[in-house]
Symmetry: C2
Subunit: 346 residues, 2 copies
C-alpha cells in the first residue's frame, strides 16, 4: 500500500480509537498534518473504502475502520508501546505484596490487567496436568473424624474430612498412611493397577471402610478434572465505552460474562501456543461479540502452557497499549508461577 494511504488509514484508526466518532477528511487534514488538503484525503479515503479498510456508517458521515482495517493496522502499522516506568513499578509492587498462593496471584494479575488497560480482564487458572501421588496423610481430628490429605507431585494439595469408626486408633491411621505411601507413592492414575489395589485392601482388610474413603480422595486428586476457573475483572469498564451505551448490548455482554465455561473456551480459542494473539470482531467466533476484540496470550511454566489470560474490549480498542500490557503481564505471571509451583512434571 502506498505510503500516504497507510498514513491516512493510520489517522483514521487512531482518531477513531481516541474519539469513537467517525473521522472526516477535514479532521485528518487538521490534526494529522499530512501536508495535503482535505480533498486529497477524501480521494484516498474513497480508495481505502473500495479496498475494504474503512467504511461509512451512513452516507455523508465520516469513516470508521472496518475489521479488515483494524487487522491491517495491527499487522503492519501498529508500533509497540512500551509500559511507562510508573506502570512497571506498579506491577512490581503489587506482585511483591501478595504472592502466597496461586489463587491470589491469578487474582492480582487480573486486577492489574483491568486497571492498566481499562478494559475487561480474564485470567484462566492454571491447568496443572497429569500428576502423580507424592504423599498421603491421615490426621486424627476428634471423636470420629479424621482429615485425609493428599499431596501431588505438581504441588496440588487436596484434603477431605472423613468419618471414622470409634474403634480406630491413632496407630491404625499411621499404619494406613504408611502402607499407602509405600505402595502408591510416585504413581499416576494410569499406573495404579488393579492387583496393587487388591494388595492394599488385603493388607489393610480390617479398615476397609476408612480405606474406601481415603482411596476415593486419592482417585479424585489424581483424576482431578481441573475445574477451569476464571478470574474476571473490570467488567464495568466496558460500560464506559460509548459503544456500550445501549442497554441491550450490555445485557448480551453480561450474560456472556456469567457463563464461565463459554468464557474459558473463548479465551482458549486463541490457537497459538505462545505469544500474544489479537482477535478482532468476528474473528472471535462468538456471534454476540462481533463488536469486541480480544487480546490473549498463554502463560507458561518451564515452557509448558498452563493457562491463558486476556483482555476483552470494543473493536475500537487501544491495541498497541493492550498488546504490550498483555505481553508484559504474561511473562511476569509465568515467572512468578515458576517460582511458586516448580514441581511440574517434566
Amino acid at each position: 500500500m502506498e505510503d500516504r494511504k497507510q498514513k491516512v488509514l493510520l489517522a483514521v484508526v487512531h482518531d477513531y480509537i481516541a474519539t469513537a466518532e467517525p473521522v472526516g477528511s477535514r479532521t485528518i487534514a487538521k490534526k494529522y498534518k499530512l501536508g495535503v488538503s482535505p480533498a486529497t484525503i477524501r480521494n484516498e479515503m474513497a480508495d481505502l473504502e473500495d479496498q475494504g479498510f474503512i467504511e461509512q456508517p451512513y452516507t455523508s458521515a465520516g469513516r470508521i475502520p472496518s475489521e479488515l482495517g483494524y487487522r491491517y493496522y495491527v499487522d503492519f502499522l501498529m508500533r509497540k508501546q512500551e509500559l511507562s516506568k510508573e506502570e512497571e513499578e506498579l506491577i512490581r509492587r503489587e506482585y511483591r505484596a501478595k504472592v502466597r498462593d496461586v489463587g491470589q496471584v491469578i487474582h492480582k494479575t487480573g486486577l492489574l490487567l483491568s486497571q492498566l488497560t481499562h478494559y475487561t480482564a480474564m485470567v484462566l487458572t492454571p491447568r496443572i496436568g497429569i500428576s502423580s501421588l507424592k504423599h498421603v496423610q491421615i490426621v486424627y481430628m476428634h471423636q470420629s473424624r479424621a482429615m485425609v490429605i493428599a499431596v501431588m507431585d505438581n504441588g496440588a494439595v487436596q484434603h477431605r474430612m472423613i468419618e471414622i469408626p470409634e474403634s480406630i486408633t491413632a496407630l491404625d491411621m499411621e499404619t494406613i498412611s504408611r502402607v499407602l505411601n509405600d505402595k502408591l507413592q510416585g504413581l499416576t492414575m494410569k499406573s495404579i493397577k488393579l492387583n496393587l489395589i487388591k494388595e492394599i485392601y488385603s493388607e489393610l482388610a480390617r479398615h476397609k471402610n476408612v480405606l474406601d474413603m481415603v482411596m476415593e480422595l486419592i482417585q479424585d486428586s489424581l483424576t482431578l478434572e481441573v475445574e477451569d476457573k476464571i478470574y474476571l475483572g473490570g467488567v464495568f469498564n466496558m460500560l464506559n465505552q460509548p459503544e456500550f451505551h445501549n442497554v441491550e448490548k450490555i445485557k448480551t455482554m453480561l450474560s456472556i460474562m456469567e457463563q464461565e465455561k463459554l468464557l474459558c473456551n473463548i479465551l482458549e480459542g486463541g490457537g497459538e501456543d505462545e505469544g500474544v494473539t489479537v482477535r478482532i470482531g468476528g474473528e472471535i467466533d462468538q456471534w454476540d461479540m462481533k463488536e469486541c476484540s480480544m487480546i490473549t496470550a498463554p502463560y507458561t511454566v518451564r515452557g509448558r502452557k498452563m493457562g491463558s489470560l486476556g483482555v476483552l474490549g470494543p473493536t475500537r480498542m487501544e491495541y498497541a497499549k493492550v498488546v504490550s500490557v498483555v505481553d508484559y503481564l504474561t511473562k511476569y505471571l509465568s515467572r512468578t508461577l515458576e517460582r511458586m509451583i516448580q514441581g511440574v512434571r517434566k
Copy 2:
C-alpha cells in the same frame, strides 16, 4: 388501618411489583374486585398518600408504593409463599451432585439463589473463627523443594512450597515435623509463648532457615485474616428489571458489585444474628442503592453464625417469594455445611 385501605395498599404493591407501572384507580377496580368504584378507590388512595404509604411520580400518574408502603406490606400484609415441589426438588438435586468442598457448596448455593429468585445473589464464604493447630507435616518433593502442610482443628488446611538446603534429609524433615507437632499441637496463636518458640529453635538449631519458613506458614494459618470472599451470581438478572434500563444506574450498580469489601459489609449489615432480614431502599445504608432492596440471612453451623447470604433486587421486588427462598436455602446450606465441616470450635 381499616381493612379496605389495606386491601387497596396491597393491590397497589402487588400490581406495581408485577407490572413496574404506576397503578391507577381504574386498574385496581378492574383487576382486584374490591366491589367499589374507581372513585372510592381514588379517595382511599388520596388518604394512603397523605399517610405516606404510596406516592405519585408526577401529577396525574398512578401511584407507586413508597418505602414506608413496602415496609408496611412486608411487616403486616405479606403472606409467606412456600416453595413449589419442583423448586424443592431442584435444590435437593443440585446439592446432591457436588458437595465435595466448601467452595463448591457456596458456589452452588449462590447459583440456586439467583436462579430461583431471578435477582442478584450474594453468598459470603464461611468465616471459620479462631483455630488451633492440629498437625504439621513436611513432605519432601524433589531436589531442593518441600511442601509444608498445616491442619487446623476447624478443618482448614494450608500448604506452601518451600526451598530447602540440599543437605537436609528426609529424616531431618521427619524430626522437624515431630518436634513441632509435639510442642505446638492444640495451641492457638495466643497460647504460643515466646519461650516455647525459643525452645523449638534451640532444639532444631541446625535447621534454622527451614524452621523459619515452616513457622511462618503456621503463623499465617493461625492468624489467617479470613479473606471474606463473596460469591456473586445473576448480576445480569438486574438488567432485565425495567428500573435498570438506564445506563447510568447500571454503571453505579456494577461498580458496587466489583468492590468485594463493600459488598461484604453491606451483606453483613443486616444486624440480626438469625432469621431473614429485609432491608428496603434507604434502609441499606449505601447511598447508591436507594432503589434496591436486600433480603439477607445468616447461615450457621451448630448455632454459630458462619456467614451470610442474600438477594439484591429492585425495591419493587417479589418479597414474599424471595423471603421464602432465602429462608429455605439458609437452612439447607447450614445443614450441608454442618455435615461437611464438623470440627468447629465449641
